[in-house]
Symmetry: D2
Subunit: 386 residues, 4 copies
């Protein structure tokens, strides 16, 4: 059992700003509460909406100084860069199409970035961001939050350490049902922007949640995609995909299947995986994130429960409350920020970076994944090299 | 609740013989016990093994008359056809390669057939069997036993009746782990013949259990495959596939993924499906066969428990004990025989046939499925028309 | 994995008769199908109903010779005892109040008995049956069928072998919901006789299913009740209990709680237990009978799946199909008969008896349990010595 | 689906102080993070330990002004009461024996209180606290955090609204395994103080977690205990109980069983209940807090998933992220603080109080419950009036 607080001794509370996340949006608020829960940074500036009125209202709700609530992100990037007490990093929670220009603006002003996924509209944009970040020596985190769960890290470490042997076959899925009907016609803003190619890019479902499951599989298995074929379908007269099934051949010979969908009724947020190796099988379900299922050759099925003593030390380092006390979405999110701010501290102290959060490469890979899926689908679901 | 016995008033007990199923084999015994449980037929003849000694020993264990224990199936087919009290049907439980000649021999002697899956080594063989059966007016059942579960029938009826609307996307899997290591080298006979192309045909895993999940999806959804691509892998230096992942485009636009595997460690017999329609989603897991999971738009998830009053009447007609009392493999098997012997009765009474069991067409479709998967796999997992 | 058939080489098929179980009843049919599945005995005689017409109809359905379908059980006991090929044992599946006289009649005529539970209307009746059986050297089995599940035997053996150490605290429940409303008023015969003290005795729910969970706990733990207090409630104006909660102090200091209920809506047949020892905890749920949950100190939770290699040998000896293929109620029932007929064989061969089935002592203990619960409840749920 | 942020417009951030919770303790940190997540209050003062050094270190970690880190709680209560910007409320997270004097000190200085459970060492102490709070017009919250889960509120509302009819029978349990071995001898501080009557009072397990399940059942069902009998056991030579089983008769005739245990190996934090009414049954498991199981007469089992549209409005008002995104312990805790600070706001605005958090009465009832259990146990588990 975890007995003692995992309160990390924090060097100093970092200052951050937010772009997007105005009152009425969901994800900005989740970012903020997660950072508050983590305790490592403090919101001090923002440009929360294209409507300055909304932005002002949001900033006041968060008790910001009024002169740090901005009309445009360009203004914000410059002004904050100029301040002695300017923000250390920015959190970008806008629709996909603006991720690139906003990220670029802050990077160019020397500000670290946490950006929602998918990273950009294209992998070229993504690579451009990577180039700038590297030139400036800046950190870049893409909010693939599900890899923040401690048991996902346990799965990753087990595979790295050879516990289940060489991987043979995997299946991942991220299926939801909330777009199974034309909710965009009855006021659902989340649906409305996602089905609009101008805001969302070349793919909807595959970019929105397909990139999450792709990143999850890459993170946990360490496998690299060699080629893939994808069958994507748009429903309800929409332009972009609502459902996509993908077959994957990994470098080294492993096989994989992925399913991303917005139209599987009754599945709220079903991200899960099975990873089958030569010596055992691992399974995890995001909706029961505190359990990891491990099946070793000729042994009973094991259910590992977060917080117990039998985990890798790095896993328990990320655990905040005792076993049986549920850690959920906010905590997983907080763990991503924990990894990010640890590296911010390392930059200040000169310690080596740990990169214990999804970086710009994961974001670029996500964009490549979407591009290849769309290419395959356009060519009759033909196989395409990755 | 089911209160009363479901003992069917049986016209007469049918007589059957068995080919294969000698002492030491598994599946013959399961067939026999299931038929005994059903109570509709009685074992009276057999050719249980190529070794007459084993055959004799088996027949005596089952208390057969010694002159109805045969040295060859050809002899058995002729002799039983010649007897006034000869067998009504034969149960064939030999390795795949002999399904065709044995079935043919009995059909040609005017004897109905229940044959294990896959039906034959090729769809051509299968079509030949169909032709003979039709010419002779004989029944032919292929032992796709998992569709004998009452809740599978409920799923089928719900879809037929439009309860979940038009189907959009499906996922099926039949994954096991018992061939993850070279068990054929340590005396496992089940593995030994399955990896031998001479006995098993052009595919191992895809024929052995892939056909089960293919037939399950076809039975439940009523969808027809338009084209597919398959990625199949052989491990441990074996010649034939141990793992296969398949992407499917169905006629009418639905998408599908299937996974069949013998090497997913810790999965004992994991046949399961998710079927997603415009109005709802259905899920069933063979390892918990008494529950059907139904997710309707904007409603709580429902778990339907076999034996309760809210099922379609045809489903409860197939239920033998009250809800909460587990019905398992033997009962599902018995239900297949129930459907088969009901049609045998119908042949005698002149009542219309109901075909409430997997017929020769399902068997042929299974063979076609395997052939297309192998073809696709040989061509770099290219898409092939079904 | 279980690869090979578990067909036991049977010395000879025993002959049995049935009292009760006329067309329209449930449990007689379940007994018969289970015995057929087991293959160790054959129904040859019966007195299936007080109505001879029903009895005749039932017997003919089962293809009995007409002269072995009897008008009264007394006549049957005498006639069968007199025949050279008379029945070896009788199966009694009538309402509780007739268990005693019928059992007695067959015992006195030298016929072994399998009797439904509860054994009798009182422990005195039960002890009388035991006395006669012992005097005559006859076997007596009480149909506590749930202990026929292989994983229940695994739990018992683990405890006997000290795997979970000394037992500290246990909880058992057997809760159903089918009598939550006055179904006896709308034609439910099962409910009608159970609420009638003349047919059911001094308790309804506690006798009907309370004895099952009591026997289960006694069988698995080996613990003996020192004292108990019971709170029993009758609903809907019924005379007898529909719900009972019991606190138990076991000899040696362990604590226990039992809950038996007919009125927990939505629980179909929820018999389950948690047994907590000094070194680990065991859990089993009758509705998922193929899994045993084992929690050992500082270890991940283990789920043992029936049919795998890691069980005690005695457990796998009772397994009939491979892991992942569900064994259910009929198989558990068949296992009880397997144990019983093995001892019948032993009587013939002179081999030592194994008593691998619930005997008359378990039946008597069940009656004592009901008597003590009723006594406690009448005295304001006071503690009473067992 | 929940689409929009549930960020409550907060009147103002309240100021709070903490007593207990020094570096190395668990629960203080959990309180603080939960409040941060909620965003309604800010830590500004503290007396975190009897060791001033530890207190200083803790306060600095939390970035407090040094003059608001106190040597004693008495000093803190007075000093904060005297400040214009003094704390609005105090959070008390010390061992049980000091809850009463510390609460009293702050109440007498006019400061609202949030106190860990159990409220006090005796119900007399509890009633004294209630008296003072009422005299002073102060709010008092007892940290029975599990009723902060939205689905627990759904269960409560369903019962209040008669959805499952009059309650008949209930079972609650809160079982853990972490004290199954003498961990107090190997440095486990949490265990060490809990087994010491001077710090913990007249009961260990029954006070520590028994009060949680008692409060849960009272909150959800609205039932009042008429009488109870308890069987409590101390293991490993400890003075106080580690396991307790309780039978309850509720006013109005319902029956109940409770089980609280620290020695059920492998159960991490298993708080759960079944509540059976005339029309349906409700079940909830703290380790899967986002699901509520509802079984209505003659209907399939329903699994309600937090965040969907079919809940009572008050329930969704307490939901912070969409369905399928797990809300856990920190969020439940935050909900308790949300209810508490809403009433703090109401006090300022003159709006009516809602008491949407566990109050001093729940704390007193917990103390009475422990007292009655101990009394019953001392008298041979006799029934005692509540």
């Amino acid at each position: 059992m975890i007995e003692e607080t995992k309160a990390r001794k924090i060097l100093r509370k970092f200052r951050y700003g937010m772009v997007g996340g105005g009152i009425g949006s969901l994800i900005g608020d989740v970012h903020k509460r997660s950072i508050d829960l983590d305790g490592s940074a403090q919101l001090v500036a923002g440009c929360f909406s294209r409507s300055f009125e909304t932005s002002l209202e949001t900033g006041k709700m968060y008790e910001l100084e009024e002169n740090r609530i901005y009309r445009t992100y360009e203004e914000m990037a410059k002004a904050e860069a100029a301040r002695e007490d300017g923000i250390d990093f920015v959190v970008i929670v806008t629709p996909n199409s603006s991720h690139y220009p906003i990220s670029k603006a802050f990077l160019e002003n020397g500000i670290h970035v946490v950006c929602d996924k998918p990273l950009a509209l294209s992998s070229d944009e993504g690579r451009d961001l990577k180039r700038i970040a590297e030139e400036k020596g800046l950190l870049f985190c893409v909010a693939h939050i599900y890899t923040g769960y401690p048991l996902v890290k346990q799965a990753k470490l087990m595979i790295e350490n050879g516990d289940i042997g060489k991987i043979r076959s995997v299946r991942g899925q991220y299926i939801q049902g909330w777009m199974a009907t034309p909710v965009e016609k009855t006021g659902n803003k989340q649906a409305a922007w996602r089905i609009d190619p101008k805001q969302t890019g070349i793919a909807n479902c595959m970019g929105d949640i397909g990139t999450h499951i792709e990143q999850m599989m890459a993170y946990v298995t360490g496998l690299r995609i060699e080629s893939l074929c994808a069958n994507m379908t748009a429903y309800l007269g929409r332009e972009l995909d609502n459902d996509g099934q993908v077959l994957i051949k990994y470098e080294g010979g492993a096989s994989g299947m992925l399913w991303a969908s917005h139209i599987v009724i009754g599945h709220d947020n079903d991200l899960s995986f099975i990873i089958c190796g030569e010596k055992g099988t691992l399974e995890w379900h995001q909706e029961q994130p505190n359990d990891l299922i491990v099946k070793m050759l000729d042994q009973p099925t094991q259910v590992l429960s977060r917080g117990n003593g039998y985990f890798y030390p790095e896993v328990n380092a990320a655990v905040r409350i005792p076993s049986g006390h549920v850690e959920g979405h906010f905590v997983a999110f907080a763990n991503i920020y924990r990894g990010f701010t640890q590296d911010l501290e390392a930059l200040e102290t000169g310690a080596p970076l740990k990169y214990d959060y999804p970086g710009v490469d994961a974001g670029i890979e996500g964009n490549v994944f979407v591009e290849r899926c769309v290419e395959s689908n356009r060519n009759g679901s033909a196989w395409v090299k990755f």
